[in-house]
Symmetry: D2
Subunit: 436 residues, 4 copies
Amino acid sequence: MKDRIINSAVSLRDETVRLRRDFHKYPEGGFFEFRTASVIIKYLQELGYAVRYGKDVVKEDAILGIPAEDILAAEKMRAISEGADPELCDMLDRGKTAVVATIQGKREGDRKVVAFRFDIDSNEITESVRESHLPMKYGFRSVHDGFAHACGHDGHTAIGLTLARILKEFENEFSGTVKLIFQPAEEGVRGAEAMVAAGVVDDVDYFFSGHLGLAANKTGMLYASTGGFLCASKFDAAFIGKSAHAGNAPQEGNNALLAAAQASLALHAISRHGDGASRVNVGVLNAGTGRNIIPDNAIIKFETRGETEKINDFMIERAKQIVFSAGDMYNVKSTMDCVGRARSFEAYDSDFASEIYDIANDLGLFNDVSKYSDFNASEDCTSFMSRVCELGGKSTYLLIGSDLADKHHTPDFDFDEDSLTSAAAVYAILAIKYAN
Amino acid sequence: MKDRIINSAVSLRDETVRLRRDFHKYPEGGFFEFRTASVIIKYLQELGYAVRYGKDVVKEDAILGIPAEDILAAEKMRAISEGADPELCDMLDRGKTAVVATIQGKREGDRKVVAFRFDIDSNEITESVRESHLPMKYGFRSVHDGFAHACGHDGHTAIGLTLARILKEFENEFSGTVKLIFQPAEEGVRGAEAMVAAGVVDDVDYFFSGHLGLAANKTGMLYASTGGFLCASKFDAAFIGKSAHAGNAPQEGNNALLAAAQASLALHAISRHGDGASRVNVGVLNAGTGRNIIPDNAIIKFETRGETEKINDFMIERAKQIVFSAGDMYNVKSTMDCVGRARSFEAYDSDFASEIYDIANDLGLFNDVSKYSDFNASEDCTSFMSRVCELGGKSTYLLIGSDLADKHHTPDFDFDEDSLTSAAAVYAILAIKYAN
Amino acid sequence: MKDRIINSAVSLRDETVRLRRDFHKYPEGGFFEFRTASVIIKYLQELGYAVRYGKDVVKEDAILGIPAEDILAAEKMRAISEGADPELCDMLDRGKTAVVATIQGKREGDRKVVAFRFDIDSNEITESVRESHLPMKYGFRSVHDGFAHACGHDGHTAIGLTLARILKEFENEFSGTVKLIFQPAEEGVRGAEAMVAAGVVDDVDYFFSGHLGLAANKTGMLYASTGGFLCASKFDAAFIGKSAHAGNAPQEGNNALLAAAQASLALHAISRHGDGASRVNVGVLNAGTGRNIIPDNAIIKFETRGETEKINDFMIERAKQIVFSAGDMYNVKSTMDCVGRARSFEAYDSDFASEIYDIANDLGLFNDVSKYSDFNASEDCTSFMSRVCELGGKSTYLLIGSDLADKHHTPDFDFDEDSLTSAAAVYAILAIKYAN
Amino acid sequence: MKDRIINSAVSLRDETVRLRRDFHKYPEGGFFEFRTASVIIKYLQELGYAVRYGKDVVKEDAILGIPAEDILAAEKMRAISEGADPELCDMLDRGKTAVVATIQGKREGDRKVVAFRFDIDSNEITESVRESHLPMKYGFRSVHDGFAHACGHDGHTAIGLTLARILKEFENEFSGTVKLIFQPAEEGVRGAEAMVAAGVVDDVDYFFSGHLGLAANKTGMLYASTGGFLCASKFDAAFIGKSAHAGNAPQEGNNALLAAAQASLALHAISRHGDGASRVNVGVLNAGTGRNIIPDNAIIKFETRGETEKINDFMIERAKQIVFSAGDMYNVKSTMDCVGRARSFEAYDSDFASEIYDIANDLGLFNDVSKYSDFNASEDCTSFMSRVCELGGKSTYLLIGSDLADKHHTPDFDFDEDSLTSAAAVYAILAIKYAN
């Protein structure tokens, strides 16, 4: 059966590439994936999947980092003008561009639930215009300036739809349920938590996700598991003061710029932690309107990280004290919103990783299979993984090898489309194995 | 002769109003006055004035707060599309939208030089769209969103051109020279210094300037002199650091955001001065690009003020130490550019003020004449006045009464156009008196 | 009668000088005046005055800047060893070294109350040992290292007791009451408020105080009134955090040093006030115990000043916000205690000043009498003066001319003892005039 | 021979204990070890050792953290009054209380050099007065309030002298040289660098040092080697500004308190390092003299640490920038002196550790021998060890088990004197083995 699955994936190559290039050409940032989600929904409905989306798969009050309403409205209009279904868009609006599709195997047997998760959002950078850049050369470069698929999520999404098509073909050969999870807003680690909170993975026995490239930077490589995810939190803080003429009556102002400057300095001075690594960064500070006006507004965008949840919690606790007391210090109102969160993943399962390693090694699809890689960054997939393990399931995060044109998150990033077929094949093999 | 001059001014009322409304409709911010200066130059050349402009009346290396090249280029294109002469625009480019015109009286006698200075730039705000706002009602509201004449400089310019026309009519009745100075970029106190540095007032015996409204907030009022100008300096400081990934290698970054935050806090903590009032304000701080990147760039816009030059110099000296050492503290390169400067005026001449007071009182044009008002703000006209007095001349700054629709620098600001005629008349009377 | 009073003062010169030199030799800092107050009490009781002291003339919960108990105990022991009455000392303890004595005139007539206030504390500096320094030469140099009468309060006290003796002599010649107020702890502006709060001047119709020297820096000068007292407040703030080993577990510490550093910087950055001069200074910061321990303790000593009460109140309000929010920022408990307060004096009475000027001019005691001097510093006598005026009385603060050996508050300060007699005489004349 | 050596050590027990208790009773802080060093010198000279000390074994310009001259002078006087030789004291003065003694074995054979290092300074805390505290009970509690041997260096010194005595006894049985190094000022990690700089270990083939207690907190335990020493640097920074009256002329002051506060905050905000753990702590800040004086002086005492030399070097580099630019920011002169330094030890030799482990295991002296312990703190012994290894020698740092009454560096710390004998025995066995 392995070989039949692989053959199926190979036969779908053109369709996979078509899908990837379509997503690549119309990249959409986190929670703006109106067109992307529309395409996914229609595609899966046509294949006969049970498809849920919007508020059915997203807990509204758990959404992190939702963009401003006017920006969302403009993006929705843009997506509709690019073919997205207006009714669907309304249901996907305000942070709910998430899709979950399930297929029930028709074979008799165990009713295990196997889930695969794909992230669908683009980066917010402008794609390269160099002639040697393949998307440029072949005419599928991003048509949205300021947005580009520079992390391979276009590929992930195409893999997901290809997997759906393969599983449909093999539906008589597995007894369990396969659940395909398309998650918005992985960049900024915003999209996963609210899907987890909606219970999307509460019934899952086996959970898989993965990434193209990263440490697996050659086509043919595969890492069967990943660990070392850094715990991270993203925050926006705002300071609202009172303006005054800086010459005539400076004492009447409540200086939001100074409160934000103060908070920034104090955030960077949060004590190191004796139990392990921590990080903090105020990446953006914008304050004030005119040179001769006491500034009445300021915002900072910052993040904390920790080697463990406990360390990151320490950072967050201290950050709160700082933001609010910096406001108080200048008689300024301050707010602090969590706009993103990635957990560490402390339930790594070495045995399950070995199992996947053995399976991958047997396929003949990959010539360089390793058991484990450190991720050394943040991924909100850890939210799904932690939940699955907490409820007794198993999970792993694979790295799928692909030749890379440049580093992730840079304008010239591109990957080898051959890797999409291998990825779809190994996922399908895992799906059918564990759904039996 | 007084009455003949007044009659001349009255007869020019429609032309004065036409000019004012034209300038009002096409407001141009500091150093963007390509169209305004073009109109002034042509108008005065047609009247037969000797007209100098651009680098002949502006010392290039003394220009303060010149805008970025791309913005200047766009504004020049815009002005040309609105009728400005392209060749003139090239000569006015890069901070040289200044015009100086002279007329030599034809009477025998003393060759005194009498100067009048008019500021021609608009504010950078968007004008009111309320129906009751007269420019709206009569169709001369600003056609440039983001720019509006909300300080009466449109009126000042119209007064200047009307004065030119009256003086031409009376050229046989004075023996000296009258010099009309049209200064760009008074807002931000940027335009005067470079004209003074070019020697524009070095030959002046009597210097007059003034303002519509302010304390003279009723038509019929006149203040013969003004003092209490606050010394002010405007600075932009930039911090150039080095970016780094905030998670992987924060130690590789040189944090420009923290340098700017630090500088802002320290600037506000400059010691008070025992000899009199001082001020400092960081009105704008913008830093950083992304939440997870050590910020490699920051800018602050700030100002200092002092009751005397000495106090302001103390503030500037301390500000420099702070900006550069804040950069050093974070291993960040810092720059600090003066983008505006208003002097205090410490050569107030009470006798000359009394003289002007007596003249104004005798005219019958004003029903409420006072000798003196505190200005309580900054005006770079003080640069001209200080230079004239330094070289032995006399100067005064008048406030011309005008009913006001709202406060200066607000969207609904408007003044009573009748005051333009009174202003032109009193200026012409002073010109002819002192040019004899 | 004037001449008889002057003769009486002159005849008491030796006694006055003896008293002054005794106080000079045993200087006592603020609230340590156990011996000084003992001497005053006994002296006045022997003269037949009604003498109140300790808690009868000091409201306990209004005392500002009371020293630590162990230091007070040591000073009391020291005073007893120098002859102070132990029982009296117990009653004067803990900030109550204040004495108020009254004499009721025996003449029929108006029962006006006339008060004179004398400050009795020394400075906390070490007196000069130069041979040319008169107290050294004549053997009455301070026997207390670290304490010296370098501001003339020894003279003030001697004037007060001499005045008491003269008034006793003339008690049949006035009908009202004269109240002599001996105030502790003027240095640091700590002693007056609690005496005012105890109602000491609530019945006073005419209030006089004054100072030797200052602007009146020649014997023979006299200023009849003084204004321009700066409003000032003195504070101690403490920060109590939690220590931790800086290497092993820095995150367990709550850093009091950083809270105090933060507060100090923010205090100096309190906005300037558009209505007039303000000041702030953190004069002392002490924090921490060991280099490798997260500091769990810090104290700062600071002061605010304002040209008016309103401006100083603004400073205080902002200071509180800063001290408490700086504590919060570092998870540290903070306290802020007022340890001194001088009011501005906004009820200056020009008519009364003229009256005193005329009287002084008539005496023949002073050859250079002026009506008014700016004080340009802080004096808590303003607390008495403000209270008297608030209740409808009149007050003035005189400067009594005296040749000075060096500036006030320096080790070589000394004054001309002849001025003591003139001061006692003019006070007695004013007392008897206004107590009739 | 092992047994003979052990027997020798056991027979010397009373002498060892006598020595330890003598040192314990007269504890001397870093660079104050005048009496301790005098005793060591005399003792070793009497045994016939070649003894060098003072400038012969200390490079003067490499001494770190030398105390102020007046304090050194007082301590020298104190030591002389307690029996130290005045002439010796002069030679040991100013940071040179170091002693190095050598014995040349009389056997034919290899001339290897084997060194043992003992630290001799006390802590600066006050010893317990509890009756159950053995030094109290047996009458050898510290006679110096503020100083106590609370880290076992009294024991180390006694071990060193006992070792000297044993080696003398066995001098015919080894061919090499044994060098005994007595190092001052280990607390604060100040004393080692200048001895290394003087070349004290440049000829050493085998280097041993060790510590009583720590992880080896039971008598009978032994760790054959130690690693994980934290790299640390200790600094004093001073800020010299200019005072001014805070009310009259604050602008004339250069505020040292604010410079120090600023530096403290910025030091704590030095970026975390992506390659490993770092630390920074400002443990002490003292600034200013009077509440109403702009502070003209401030000092901070701080330390940096790093998991590697590279990380600590990064901390130091950044600290320098901060201290000097904080000074510049307030127009204040700043200085920064290194007063202590401990290296990390990156040349750990696992094979040599195994060799020592095997030797120790064979002796029968210890019932719980381990190969390795992390030290998890700083020790300037690493300076010697790094130098020895750099020149091709071998080194190890042992932990000698001892029952402890309380934690190191606390008033009730005490150890089991039996462990001294075991330590002397194992050292002697190692000395003789490697000196052959």
